[in-house]
Amino acid sequence: MQLRMATVLPLGLFAVLGVVLAMGLRHDPKVLPSMLLDRPLPEFDLASLKIGAPNLKSSELKGKGVTLVNVFGSWCVSCRYEHPLLMRVGKDTRFKLVGIDWKDAPQDANQYLATYGDPYAQIGTDEVGRTAIDLGVSGAPETFVVDAKGRVRLRVPGPLTPEIWDKQIEPLIKESEKAS
């Protein structure tokens, strides 16, 4: 029973492929890692959704404790799933929750918040979408956790869930608290 290299080669290659495919099963190909991780929050200066309120400036969000930047839109169906959670955590004083209203008409956004509640300390409008692109946003909702030093520590694509909150965001908040 001779085994020649040429005849075992297909089996060997297949074994490698099998391992790759098996590992691939545990892993979600749709998740795009954010380019901002461990980098400072990009500069932006967005007009406020509320008339008369000050602009939402990235410079003011740095060095002032943890900030959660939530990109949303009144047109975004998934945003409604996370809204109750946002309403709940908006009251948390350990961090500041700000919103960026993306590609939305101000009156639609105001209507949306009037209906479902406004959890944000501040809201900036990004109708053109330039800031969202600077943040590397490809869909709504997306949430960025920015630490006290102004570095982006986490990007959550899709709606926030209690599980994500507990497992990923809480630890970051606690870590920042300890540091300060």
């Binding site: 001779q2 099998g18 790759v20 099963l25 190909p29």
Partner: protein, 664 residues
């Protein structure tokens, strides 16, 4: 009740398949005629049972039985009847049922038409089919059961992805599956031959028609898929190197290689080990394709389920089937392989070269499809591979086979003389060069690749016809004699003619369309006129239209030339309220030489509508060429030599462990 019958039949089919997978193997080992014959009965029985089950599922869909969860989530009362039927396989569970149904159809066909196969080979092959069937039946029953009931049946279903509500859905998946799954026959026979320890010309003669049949359907399936994407997606594209397209293309490439190497096994008893390996590889690629579409490992427009648990099950099936077959291959093939030698220049070596080119092409598609996954898993980066990659790798690597495919038929078996053979191809060569120069001239030297592509397609088309010209000695003998030879030519030659010529037309179409397609995206108001291609297009009006389960805006356009209106075209944008989805029904007007394509866009802020107009010269020949290739395959299949092949009284050429090389 009906669904329960379906469920029950499915379970019985699983049990039957398990019997089919085991007892006949033992029977073949002991040369027990009864147990071996059991395989055929089991094969036919499992087919009948799965057919009953499938019918039950179809019945549930057609009768709007929303107590069946699958029907509730995928159908609607308002859906037209034809789409209720095709909707059976427009979802994961139903399409798996179709997969299994086709698998057992092939088992039954082997059982019924395999009267002349040696009993032990037939029993073993059917046993392998039974193993595959058992595995997939288990998959359906335990992870993807279509007959699950809902406790509270809704009054109406939630409908189906509107993109799938299309005649294309009626034919594209069944054709594809007949192709994919059809290669299981070659796989089963290859494994059976390895178990037996011998491969003879009868084996190849038996397997080749099945490979051809699967190949024809796969060719049609891919062609249909391309055409479907073209008219439904609204931007005139016809191939995207999407992972799921790639996983159907790879079995096609390797299947084409298999088709040609099986020819060598049958005629000359050479390339035996290689052909066995290809048989295993082709079906394995089909299995990997099934895995990719359903496991969520790669993202694609086509992905059905993205369920890693199901993916794992399929992966285990692949480990068992492909892994098992390759282990068997490694241990058994050294005993089986002795083949008849051939010279470095011969038809056998030409076909070997054909295989090399096709397999490397398939490997290229493979790398492009799976490399991002590999890189991502290594944690390094997330890259993506799109059209530009394939243009720079696949395209140049595919050119050699386009050149050599014309030469193959003119090479003699066993040994030939290259320059002598090349002299036979003088006319096609001259024709190709003339066309190349003509194309260069026509394009004023600006499109070198285009000219090369056109010249190459002339080489292929003229070269394919040249086979017949040489065979009938056209011009050298009286016309009536030529005609008489033509009349008596075996159909396999016509198969070659159309098969190769079709490829030439596909190449021509791709070259011309890619170079010279035009588009015009403008905002049009009512009554406004614009140009595309050779024509003028005027927007006559846009009106609201109500469909059975959608609302649409329909744009009407007048196509004219030199002021002469000769056609009215309508393009729609449909909105399906239940699924909250939009589709494009593009307007395509063809004169079989080129397509004029119109898609309706959004209303813009200037009071008009965005309209996308395209002109695609030679585009119809992309799909005509594809169907021509499949047609060639079917013509070959109808060759009477296939039907009498196995019964032919030929001295059996059994090569076993004690064989000497060259025995024939």
């Amino acid at each position: 009740m009906i669904a329960e019958i379906g469920q029950f039949a499915l379970l019985l089919a699983l049990m039957t398949s398990l019997v089919q997978a085991t007892l006949p193997l033992y029977g073949a080992h002991r040369q027990d005629r009864g147990l071996m014959a059991l395989a055929s009965y089991a094969g036919v029985t499992s087919f009948i049972l799965v057919a009953i089950s499938f019918a039950a599922l179809a019945f549930s869909f057609l009768n709007d039985d929303f107590s069946v969860r699958l029907v509730a989530t995928n159908s609607q009362i308002a859906k037209p009847v034809i789409y209720k039927l095709t909707g059976v396989w427009a979802n994961h569970e139903g399409s798996m049922m179709l997969w299994v149904l086709i698998l057992v159809i092939f088992s039954a066909l082997i059982a019924i038409f395999g009267r002349n196969i040696p009993a032990s080979l037939k029993a073993r092959a059917l046993a392998v089919q039974g193993m595959i069937a058992s595995a997939f039946l288990a998959f359906v029953v335990f992870t993807s059961n279509p007959f699950i009931r809902l406790a509270d049946a809704p009054a109406d279903g939630s409908g189906m992805n509107p993109l799938l509500q299309d005649p294309g859905l009626a034919v594209h998946p069944p054709c594809l599956y007949m192709g994919y799954v059809g290669f299981s026959v070659a796989f089963s026979f290859a494994v059976a031959a390895l178990i037996e320890g011998k491969v003879d010309a009868a084996w190849a003669r038996w397997v080749r028609p099945w490979v051809l049949l699967a190949w024809c359907f796969l060719t049609m399936g891919i062609t249909l898929g391309s055409f479907w994407a073209y008219y439904i997606l609204g931007w005139g594209g016809w191939w995207f190197w999407d992972p799921v397209e790639n996983v159907s293309f790879m079995p096609w490439l390797v299947g084409t290689a298999l088709l040609h190497s099986a020819l060598v096994v049958e005629r000359r008893h050479a390339l035996v080990g290689w052909t066995i390996l290809l048989s295993i590889l082709t079906f394995s690629l089909s299995l990997i394709g099934t895995f990719v579409v359903r496991s969520g490992v790669l993202t694609s427009v086509h992905s059905f389920a993205t369920d890693p648990a199901r993916g794992l099950f399929i992966l285990f099936i692949i480990f068992g089937a492909t892994g098992g077959a390759l282990v068997l291959y490694a241990f058994r093939i050294p005993q089986v392989r002795k083949g008849v030698p051939f010279a470095v220049i011969s038809r056998e070596s030409g076909l070997l070269l054909n295989n090399v080119f096709l397999v490397v092409a398939a490997a290229t598609v493979f790398f492009g499809t799976f490399w991002p996954l590999y890189i991502d898993l290594m944690g390094r980066d997330k890259i993506s591979v799109g059209v530009p990659y394939y243009n720079l790798t696949f395209v140049p690597l595919f050119i050699p086979i386009l050149v050599t495919m014309v030469i193959g038929p003119f090479l003699k078996w066993k040994r030939d003389d290259f320059s002598g053979m090349l002299k036979q191809l003088n006319i096609p060569l001259v024709a190709a060069v003339i066309v190349l120069l003509g194309a260069l001239g026509f394009t004023l030297g600006k499109h070198i690749f285009t000219a090369a592509g056109i010249g190459l397609s002339a080489w292929i088309i003229v070269g394919s016809v040249w086979v017949m010209v040489k065979r009938t000695k056209l011009g050298k003998i009286p016309l009536s004699e030529s005609f008489s030879i033509l009349y008596n030519t075996p159909r396999a030659y016509f198969g070659l003619l159309f098969g190769h010529m079709g490829m030439g037309f596909v190449l021509l179409a791709i070259t011309v369309v890619t170079t010279w397609q035009q588009e015009n995206i403008i905002s049009m108001k009512m009554g406004q006129q614009t140009k595309i291609g050779f024509y003028d297009v005027k927007l006559i009006g846009v009106e609201d239209v109500q469909g059975p389960n959608y609302q649409a805006e329909r744009g009407t356009f007048e196509l004219s030339q030199n002021g002469n209106v000769f056609r009215v075209m309508t393009a729609e944008r449909r909105f399906y309220p239940v699924q909250q989805q939009q589709t494009n029904q593009t307007a395509i007007r063809t004169n079989l030489v080129s397509n004029t394509y119109i898609a309706l866009g959004d209303p813009d802020n200037l009071g008009g509508r965005t309209v996308r107009l395209y002109y695609h010269p030679m585009a119809p020949w992309l799909w005509i060429g594809g169907f021509m290739m499949a047609f060639g395959g079917f013509v070959s299949l109808s060759d009477r030599r296939f039907r009498v092949g196995v019964a032919q009284k030929q001295r059996p050429t059994i090569i076993g462990p004690a064989a000497t090389a060259g025995a024939a």
